[in-house]
Symmetry: C2
Subunit: 248 residues, 2 copies
Amino acid sequence: MSEKIVTAAVLVIGDEILSGRTKDRNIGYIAEYLAGIGVDLREARVVPDVEEEIVAALNALRARYDYVFTTGGIGPTHDDITADAVAKAFGLPIDEDPRALALMRERYKGGELNPARRRMARMPVGAALVDNPVSPPPGFRVGNVIVMAGVPAVMQAMLDTAAKSIDTGTKMTVATIDAGAIPEGRYAEALGAIAAGDRETIIGSYPSYADGTFRNQIVVRGRDPARVEATRAAVEAMLADIRDARSR
Amino acid sequence: MSEKIVTAAVLVIGDEILSGRTKDRNIGYIAEYLAGIGVDLREARVVPDVEEEIVAALNALRARYDYVFTTGGIGPTHDDITADAVAKAFGLPIDEDPRALALMRERYKGGELNPARRRMARMPVGAALVDNPVSPPPGFRVGNVIVMAGVPAVMQAMLDTAAKSIDTGTKMTVATIDAGAIPEGRYAEALGAIAAGDRETIIGSYPSYADGTFRNQIVVRGRDPARVEATRAAVEAMLADIRDARSR
């Protein structure tokens, strides 16, 4: 089976996440979305609205992964500095993009397109537009970096557009097995032995806690559906043995 | 006014966040918690359960910030590799900690303390324990790195314990001003002028979107309450001018 791997990182830009004011919902959304189209999210970072921090993170991530998706910092206010940071990271000049400006002229009525809003047409020279069906200014893409809004509804619409132009890989097959109230410590050794037997499938054990009890799920992931299925069956058999031993 | 700045980063360790299976709730919780005790969260990263990734992120972050809080990867299963990664990052040996083991011996009954669970007593030699009132195994601290569980309820309990032993700085004073339905693009220029007038206070403009409309909040933050108050008043006056101009 020929497997293709495409990787990505998310860069969340915004003081509001680091100050605790806003709870990020974009990392989780993008993670799930990319998994669904066959792109592996390998890393996420949150940085403040500070140009050198954004530039450093962008350059680290874009060199390492096939794609970088940024969220935040593309509005009309003084704290929106993402476009300038992306231009600086790529060593590109930044200018008002005539296509973006034309779009915004259509979408803003009367005198609405003031200088602050016009700033949102500024992007690194050579950028491709990422359409925004929710509000007037578009996102953009430069090289492997896709620049999106921070507001979840706008980001999600832009991601739908951007996803059409990216390369995708072999999707992960995922099997989730409910271990219920069997404690992790009870099955850890046997699960480790199953994991050691097939390095191509990834097994994770995930506890959750509510009302004073832990409940666990075991997740098997891999690009070869047959191997995922074989590992899933081995995990189910292992859990059945533990349940049997308990009921005896 | 003498201001003291203490900084931190969060390192979330776990494939389940990057695959989209689990939505992280720890970054937002820690961000808000640290802001409340006078610690500035400056960066957050999410990395997979891969030792060299964890080590690289730890070494980048611990060199740069006063504290690093990690979440995840300290359970009994094969995918829990945080303790080993932390030991490697510090170049320390790892071994069963006698205090941790004693605690776990008290807390696990009968034959429950099997080899998989005993693994949770392994930590870098010289680590301090971070008490865990929710489940038997403790977290730990090495140098400026505080290692906590990934399950939110357990992480939160460990953070309460860990916070007692960290240095804290001057808390940020925060003023939130509701701009309601006034569009960002309408006040952006005037807000930028206010921001340029006082570089010590940080002004953010945060749109949210629901039911087809954007609503905005302006947040003013700074360590000097008097300056925050002056900036807040200037922002309120600016918004009042815009509302007046509209109603004329």
